[in-house]
Symmetry: C2
Subunit: 512 residues, 2 copies
């Protein structure tokens, strides 16, 4: 039986052009069947979302009621509690659909991160400071951020809970800022998304959100996806996923003047300075291998590009990492597509001149997997083929680039595309200070988050976080996908009130 | 003699594909000749700007020095003082090139606004709060906004000083945020821009900004303009001007992943509620006529669309406005192009069903002008041809739409495109409260700035200002082109520091 979609507060069969099955990547066993929606479903979802948005923000309520965030905050809190109550169903299904370990990953890390994020968003909605209320009494001009309209969220494959289109960071931010959400499930974990949407819908009903404030589709044609993001009723779009698909949606949204926030591929360069290696080679090799192989390397911030300085310590470092990569059993990849893309990415780098230090071949386990892979290229090679050698290998693979010296490392950094993160490992004393001083300002301009002596995986939900960066890591370097309250402002419009009488103002803009 | 361009801190002849002459629109007398630059000039400007940016932000300076805003603040202050010292040259040239009155407009309003803006930007740069420094001590994660890279500014025709590409709001914001600027002069006032750039260059030299931090081109081909905004060395673009040209630049910039901030056309709807008219018809008619004809109607926030409710007071109101439009001598338009577009806009509205209450014909004065024009359409007509009837008539012309009742006025508001501003005039007591309650939330979602009992012209440089709005008034509803410090954040990237050692942090992110 093909699963239902959630439209207008009801679960109903899709107007489907076809169906697809979820798959257990650890066993290649087919799971439930889900519909591919036609434009009819997309159109109804947008109509319902738009009507719900209009009813919420266009009405004869007094401003106190219209701008009251209680329902949004209550929804987010209720939803978090329901996710916890249904934890084992959710985690089991996510495990089945993604191959990610139940514990600690799903049950002890990702699910708590998800509920924590929903609760932080609830607190931000209640508090209101996210909207940056600004009062100029002298001119009687006041402004704050307000809702932008229905938000479409496309979630990625690699976080079935914390970035899920109906439960993750984009979802929480869009709701907290006062917008309905049309969620497009990631097709590698539709069953997990379905369970989450059931709980979201139950929470929405309990707190009295309008039917259709949260809706769910599983899949559309590429053409309908592009039509959807450029629909006149859309407020904004949040997308996390591959660069190719993301840039197509961006082109469609840009043309229609719709803000689209993308979180695309990133190789997350890690520069290891010579004295750091001399000081603590084993420690850094251990941190790197752990970060690179964790979650089978399927993180947006996976350290995919090492930059090292030629010398004996670097050779020993690479040998140590190779040993660790050999010793670790390769994890399961999220899907057949991920396995295929990873193999293609590795091939592309090899064609561009990298050679294999370890791994490089698809694994032989029952599930989708690939041997833990470390490639190597010399600095000069990188400079000559920097575009190809920056191809993302999404999974348990990295490229180590060995530069002749710091000056060549600087040239390599100058060739980098925009990335989410960049790290520099340096001696705990001052021995690397001069090299750090050369590398850091270059890397600063290429990345959203600059780390020092720390691997980039692990993206704390902190008000100071930037999970973003220069194009093509994202579509705009001024926004973050993680971190509350800043993430809310992506789904908001700046609303100014000039000479508006006090009782007609949102309460946050009245004189205190 | 063809004037020189400013590249790399030197005035030199352009690599020109041709030349154009400025023109005095009040006399149609030809003024100085300016070059049309080829790509060679654009390329050199970008190379120089990029080198200057890199030298400023990539170096071995300690963070205290790298992040020291003193030079930017000193430049902005010095430049403001120099503009004042050369006031009469600047104002005379601007008057000659635009036909705008020397006094009060240029000398007493726009020039002081310009220097005030530069000084506010200087204060914001010095203060640093614009960058929203955020410190999470517990996780040792810190973030703030930093410079985005070379900014290209395209200034509009209607503010030769306050929005000038080398002196106006975008320029001041880009510099204060730490970026070099490549200014593209508006071709209707190149001589004014030249004088301003002379003073900017002198100020830059005095405070020791790198040569080429500020550069000036006058004109390029459309093709080179699109190539320029999509150049890999560009950080961001600020554009104020016509919708057609702006959307072409947007398409090019979007494709290259370059943030572009647009301020495009807007008809700035003004809704006048019935009891307000009964209460103070003459007063509102006076405010409207003044706002509509001021600067010959050539403001981004000119009230181009009146929405009235059918009845005897509305008829009297329109008669009063017609009398005022007749009594006022039509002002000079900024250029031959403006006069042509205005005539075309009026014709388009008439073809779409509007009829002329007053004016409608080109003027007969020596300069470019058009009779003060008020058109009328009924609500039903507007609903049937809402797209054509929202064509901007840039100049001294407005359309009055007479709705049958408040419900029809609501439908009209629902049909509006995104606008910079929207106003509602209401009875000073409570008589219009119900109608206000219907109109305001609808209008709120269509505009950046909602005004009450106040005309939209006059855009205070206030921290609470929003000179922005939903597409197609701008390219993104979350940003404002006027208002410091918010305007600075358009030209900035979010920069996060994770586990970075204290002495390597920008001072604003260190523990206090």
């Amino acid at each position: 039986m093909t699963q239902s979609i959630l439209i207008a507060g009801r679960w109903r069969p899709a107007h489907a052009s076809g169906a697809f099955r979820a798959e257990n990547p650890a066993t290649r066993e087919a799971l439930d069947e889900f519909p591919v929606s036609t434009w009819e479903d997309c159109d109804e979802a947008m109509r319902v979302a738009s009507d719900a948005f209009q009813a919420r923000w266009i009405n004869d309520w007094p401003p106190e009621r219209r701008h009251d965030p209680t329902a949004f905050a209550a929804f987010l809190a209720e939803y978090a509690a329901r996710i916890e109550a249904r934890k084992s169903d959710i985690v089991d299904m996510a495990h089945r659909e993604t191959g990610l370990p139940v514990s600690p990953r799903l049950a002890d890390v990702e699910l708590p991160r998800t509920t924590n994020q929903l609760r932080q968003a609830a607190a931000a909605a209640r508090d209101g400071a996210w909207a940056l209320p600004t009062i100029d009494k002298q001119n009687n001009i006041r402004s704050m951020y307000g809702p932008i309209g229905p938000v479409i969220v496309f979630g990625p494959n690699n976080f079935p809970l914390a970035f899920n289109s109906v439960a993750g960071g984009d979802f929480a931010a869009a709701i907290a800022a006062g917008n309905p959400v049309v969620a497009k499930a990631n097709t590698s974990h539709p069953g997990t998304t379905l369970i989450l949407a059931q709980e979201a819908q139950a929470a929405a009903e309990k707190v009295g959100l309008a039917p259709g404030w949260i809706q769910l589709l599983y899949r559309t044609s590429h053409e309908d996806g592009e039509r959807l993001v450029s629909d006149s009723r859309v407020g904004a779009i949040g997308y996390t996923g591959s660069r190719a698909a993301g840039l197509k949606l961006k082109a469609a949204a840009d043309k229609a003047g719709k803000p689209i926030y993308l979180e695309l591929s990133s190789v997350n360069p890690v520069v290891i300075l010579p004295s750091a290696l001399e000081e603590r080679l084993d420690d850094i090799a251990g941190q790197f291998a752990t970060s690179c192989l964790m979650g089978t390397g399927q993180f947006c911030t996976n350290p995919g590009l090492l930059i090292l300085i030629a010398g004996e310590p670097t050779e020993r470092f690479l040998e140590t990492v190779v040993a660790k990569f050999k010793a670790a059993a390769p994890g399961t990849l999220l899907s057949a597509n991920v396995a295929k893309s990873l193999a293609q990415g590795i091939s592309m780098l090899i064609r561009a001149g990298a050679h294999t230090l370890v791994g490089g071949k698809p694994g032989t386990a029952a599930g989708y997997c690939h041997a833990n892979t470390l490639l190597r290229a010399e600095g000069q090679q990188f400079l000559e083929a920097s575009e190809a050698l920056q191809t993302e290998m999404f999974g348990n693979a990295s490229l180590a680039v060995v530069a002749e010296d710091i000056d060549e490392a600087c040239l390599i950094v100058d060739q980098l595309e925009g990335n989410l993160t960049g790290c520099i490992y340096s001696h705990t004393g001052t021995a690397d200070d001069a090299a750090y001083g050369q590398i850091a300002p270059r890397l600063r301009l290429k990345v959203g988050r600059l780390l020092n002596d720390k691997m980039p995986t692990g993206v704390a939900v902190s008000p100071a976080m930037n999970h973003g960066g220069p194009y093509p890591a994202t579509g705009h370097p001024g926004f973050t996908a993680v971190g509350i309250p800043a993430a809310l402002r992506r789904f908001a419009a700046l609303q100014c009130y000039d000479n508006v009488r006090p009782h007609r103002l949102p309460p946050a803009l009245r004189d205190k």
